[in-house]
């Protein structure tokens, strides 16, 4: 039969062997699967340190598998979607990063598995910041670090545009800043969502949405990841944007403080826990527990905050993140470039994570329906309103909100928002409302269909023409 083997089978055979070798999992005694929106530097530092620690403690090799399905919102949708398919575990041990609110939400759905952290370690962690807990008393989630929310800006661009450095969120809503604001899509980026939620809670629902809508109208676009915003600010594509503290500080280090500035609006923002949790049905619960304890221990906490190359610090990447261990701030001195102690930070309000997590998805949908999807109309409407005789009154129409805070909370807490039908109906009606409020020009809509229609006619013409000419028919 050998003679009958198809040609190329030698190559095929050798390929299958290589294939098998390549696709076989790397050899390791233990495994840990982590789902995380954290960037490469964080992953690499924690992987290196934890692997070494695990080896030292247990003598076993651990292989950490980092899954990437996108930003925090993508991860949430992914977890939900996967659990709907495999309810007793989705093959992931830990969800790492993404703020506080997602954990509150995931806990509510029962997707988290509580794990008890050694009290010796937990005692050194602050239980809360600005009134917001840093870990769940049931042990389902723990803040691994913290994030502050603020505005990054390009000093040179602002100078060229004749604009002042921003102080508050409302500065981004100023008509002068039109097209010069960078922001991400809150439906994709957890941190940008968080920023908008902070604005809502800082200013209150009505005024908050007014500011958000105006920021949206000023926005250049809505990128998928919040990390794009600092880059756009640095290249001069936009003048300022919403950014988490560490992205902004990293950009300041990269581009220089003479070009890039960062401000956390006084009294109007918070520093918030950035959590981690074991997922229900985690395949490696014991190792997951060890990882969580490691991150919360001083060894893990030093990785966040120390400069690159310091003893016990990160080796390849400076992470520049807050630690949740308050006593470290005073002790580190020059060994860290984190100059702010968030525990001394005062907010003008107390952030409510329960409310925030309940309406997480609703706020995103509303933002999408009235700001992102009809963005062109929103911008045009705002331009028109500013030119109008009474700008303030004209703008009121634009900023009219289709839903009150009570209604929103009602919808969100009744879990009506989990019903795709209800959700889609609301989104559609908001969207239609918004388009009407922004004075969408139906003629313009038709115009946009024109190229496609013309092309279709041309295509059909070409097809008929060629058909008539093709041989055997003429």
């Amino acid at each position: 039969m050998g003679a009958c083997l198809p040609p190329g089978s030698w190559l095929g055979t050798s390929m299958i062997v290589t294939f098998a070798l390549l696709s076989a999992p790397l050899y390791a005694q233990d495994e840990l699967v982590i789902l995380s929106p954290h960037w490469e530097g964080i992953r690499q530092e924690f992987e290196r340190a934890f692997t070494a620690k695990h080896k030292a403690d247990t003598g076993r090799d651990v292989d950490i598998r980092w899954l990437d399905v996108g930003g925090t919102s993508d991860i949430l949708r992914f977890i939900r979607s996967e659990f709907s398919n495999k309810s007793d575990g989705i093959g992931v041990d830990i969800f790492f990063g993404g703020g506080t609110d997602p954990y509150v939400e995931l806990k509510k759905h029962g997707f988290l598995q509580s794990c008890d952290v050694n009290p010796r370690i937990l005692n050194r962690i602050a239980p809360s910041i600005g009134g917001v807990p840093l870990y769940d008393t049931d042990g389902t989630w723990y803040a691994a670090t913290m994030a502050g929310f603020g505005i990054i800006y390009n000093k040179l661009v602002l100078k060229k545009l004749g604009l002042a450095a921003p102080q508050t969120w409302a500065d981004l809503a100023d008509p002068e800043s039109m097209t010069w604001v960078g922001t991400a899509d809150p439906r994709k980026s957890g941190s940008v969502h968080m920023t908008y939620e902070i604005i809502l809670q800082a200013y209150g629902w009505e005024k908050g949405w007014r500011v958000i809508t105006a920021i949206g109208a000023n926005a250049r676009g809505f990128s998928a990841g919040s990390s794009q915003v600092p880059i756009d600010v640095a290249t001069g594509e936009v003048a300022y944007g919403l950014a988490i503290d560490f992205y902004a500080w990293a950009q300041v280090r990269q581009a220089g403080p003479d070009i890039i500035g960062y401000v956390m609006p006084r009294d109007l923002t918070v520093v918030n826990g950035d959590g981690m949790a074991m997922l229900r049905g985690a395949p490696n619960p014991a190792i997951a527990q060890r990882f969580i304890e490691f991150v919360l221990s001083e060894e893990g906490q030093l990785l966040w905050i120390l400069k690159k190359g310091e003893n016990d610090g990160p080796v390849d990447f400076e992470l520049g993140r807050f630690t949740v261990m308050p006593d470290l701030y005073a002790r580190l001195g020059d060994r860290t470039s984190v100059r702010v102690n968030p525990f001394e930070w005062k907010s003008g309000f107390v952030y409510d994570p329960e409310r925030a997590s309940a309406r997480w998805s609703l706020v995103n949908d509303l933002f999408g329906a009235i700001i992102i999807d009809p963005h062109r109309f929103l911008v045009a409407a705002r331009r028109a309103a500013l030119r109008a005789a009474d700008p303030a009154q004209s703008q009121d129409q634009i900023f009219a909100l289709p839903i009150t805070e009570q209604e929103a909370l009602q919808l969100a807490t009744d879990s009506a928002w989990d019903d795709p039908g209800v959700r889609n109906r609301h989104i559609q009606s908001w969207s239609a409302n918004a388009r009407q409020a922004y004075g969408e020009n139906p003629r313009e809509g038709l115009l946009r269909n024109l190229p496609a229609a013309a092309a279709l006619v041309l295509l059909i013409g070409m097809v008929i023409y060629m058909r008539r000419r093709s041989p055997g028919r003429s």
């Binding site: 009958c4 949708r77 998928a224 794009q228 001069g236 390849d316 060629m466």
Partner: protein, 561 residues
């Protein structure tokens, strides 16, 4: 062996090959398409067209579709405007430096638009190099909005990448128009205009159509470029976004079906007309071409060089970005460095991804070579039934965009041992292989056709089995074709965007493109990403040069419907 088998030209070996191929195509091409179609129409066990209705009734959805169509149309239109005159001059005239210009046209292809976009954003930002330069010169007092908030940048980027493909197709179409037909028409007194209208245009139209279809499909389905430009209201990006709740929201499947139907229809039309066209005018390719006058030659050179320089701006900006140490708010970098290249080679993410891409591409290329040889063998050397089907299956990936294949794999193989979330290596290899298989089949097919069957028969006659005679005689003889096809497969696999972004979930399996996409989120991301892009560019350029040298003018035939 029964008489039936003999009549069908089947031997056990061939039967095994056909079965392997059918299983391969069935599992990795047809089944995912069926799976997605079924999921788009059957939700919770009930048939529904709800999601297709939504596409039209929901203004946001409709707008997305419209954006994609308009994007595809704009790219097709602009590439046509650029390529048509260029091709006309090339196909009909002789002049000094023609070969050089012919080669120059292909240069823009070496940069994946996805990477080019990184550099473009650096240069064409509102306070990027170009505007700062113009502002410094006092030519403008307000920054020009080059990227126009999305679509424009994507169109420019894709046009600059795709016009060579259009050029190759139009040149081939014109070369296929037998000049003697034109001369004959002139002989009977046809004027220039009526000559074009009656002879040249109808004869080249199918060839042009094929090129236009490829360009349209490419632009319509490209994921990487809109993603980097953050122009998210297009169908491929929407599909990409639907990935995370693939189990809960069938809208992704519905969009895939819409895209698939469109590409299949266009592709089918193009194939249909190309086959008729081949009968009309194949054969006479060489013909009288008239020399150009000196001024016309200079004008041609200026035009070609101008377009090439324009097309190379993204390349230039990527190279510049990759060596910029500080490049903020200055027309050119204020400090230069090679550290980003060093980082490429000592960071875990980048080194792993380069290793992964090399491995994945090499294996997928090997797979392509084997399958390509099998298919070309079956098509040229046997009279087995269903060869047409095999041919169509092998060419189908040209019409099935990478994003559809990748999206289909995620859904179809979820929960099986091939699940990309556990280990994307097998599916990545297969996705790369499937995507580029048509190029390999065409290259191998051309080789088999050029090689006389009697050489194999002579080998069998002296005692070599059919498989051995292919291996020892035909394969060495068509090696150049296989190398050329292989290089194309390999280079494209190295820079495959949608499959890589969608299928590789885990950092240790990231291919180069996914690493680049990931790196962009770092503050120094654009610089490292550009350095990787330059390396990729060098690689693809070398690949295309070698392939072009080996294949010569047949190169153009690989890039058409």
């Amino acid at each position: 062996m029964g008489t039936n088998m003999r009549a069908l030209d089947l031997s056990p070996g061939r039967l095994a090959m056909i079965l392997c191929l059918l299983v391969f195509f069935g599992v990795f091409l047809i089944y995912p398409l069926i799976y997605m179609t079924a999921n788009a129409f059957i939700v919770n066990g009930k048939f529904t067209t709800e999601f297709f209705r939504l596409m039209i009734t929901d203004p946001t959805q409709w707008n997305t579709i419209l954006n994609s169509v308009n994007l595809g149309l704009a790219v097709t239109l602009v590439t046509t405007i650029i390529s048509l005159p260029m091709a006309a001059v090339m196909a009909r005239h002789e002049f000094r430096g023609k070969a050089l210009l012919n080669g120059l046209v292909l240069v823009p292809m070496v940069l994946p638009p996805f990477v080019g976009a990184v550099g473009m954003r650096q240069m064409f930002a509102r306070f990027g190099s170009v505007n700062l330069w113009l502002l410094d010169l006092g030519l403008i007092d307000q920054p020009i909005d080059w990227l126009g908030g999305g679509m424009l940048g994507v169109v420019i980027m894709e046009v600059l990448h795709l016009y060579p493909i259009m050029f190759l197709n139009v040149t081939a179409a014109l070369a296929n128009v037998d000049p003697s037909l034109e001369e004959a028409a002139r002989g009977v007194g046809a004027g220039r205009v009526s000559l074009f209208r009656r002879i040249t245009f109808p004869l080249m139209l199918p060839g042009y159509f094929a090129g236009a279809v490829i360009v349209f499909i490419w632009a319509f389905t490209d994921l990487g470029t809109p993603l980097v430009f953050e122009y998210r209201q297009v169908v491929p990006v929407q599909i990409f976004d639907m990935l995370s709740d693939v189990h809960e929201n069938p809208m992704g499947y519905a969009l895939v079906v819409l895209m698939l139907v469109m590409t299949l229809v266009f592709f089918g039309l193009a194939r249909n007309f190309m086959s008729g066209h081949a009968m009309m005018s194949r054969g006479h390719v060489t013909g009288a071409s008239s020399p150009l006058s000196r001024p016309a030659t200079i004008a041609t050179h200026v035009a070609f060089l101008g377009i090439t320089i324009l097309a190379l701006i993204p390349h230039f900006s990527v190279i510049l970005t990759s060596i910029a140490d500080r490049w903020y708010m200055t027309p050119l970098p204020s400090l230069y460095t090679s550290k980003y290249y060093a980082m490429v080679f000592d960071h875990e993410l980048t080194t792993t991804s380069i290793r992964n891409s090399l491995g994945l591409s090499a294996i997928s290329t090997a797979l392509d070579v084997v399958i390509g040889i099998w298919i070309a063998y079956l098509l040229t050397r046997t009279r087995i039934p269903g060869r047409q089907v095999l041919d169509s299956l092998a060419m189908l990936p040209l019409a099935v965009p990478g994003i559809i294949i990748a999206f289909g794999y995620v859904g179809t193989f979820s929960g099986t041992f091939l699940d990309a979330r556990n280990n994307p290596v097998p599916l990545l290899i297969i996705a790369y292989a499937v995507r580029r298989l048509p190029y390999m089949v065409r290259a191998a097919y051309a080789g088999f056709q050029q090689t006389s069957v009697s050489l194999e028969e002579a080998a069998q006659n002296v005692g070599a089995s059919p498989a051995r005679s292919i291996r020892r005689i035909t394969i060495p003889l068509i090696f150049a074709n296989l190398v050329a096809g292989g290089i194309l497969c390999f280079s494209f696999a190295m820079l495959e965007v949608s499959d890589s972004l969608i299928l590789a979930f885990e950092q240790r399996y990231y291919p180069i493109t996914k690493a680049i996409y990931n790196l962009m989120t770092r503050p120094d991301g654009p610089f490292i990403a550009s350095a990787m892009g330059v390396i990729g560019m060098a690689l693809l350029m070398a690949g295309l040069l070698i392939a072009g040298r080996v294949l010569g003018r047949r190169m153009g035939e690989l890039f058409r419907a």
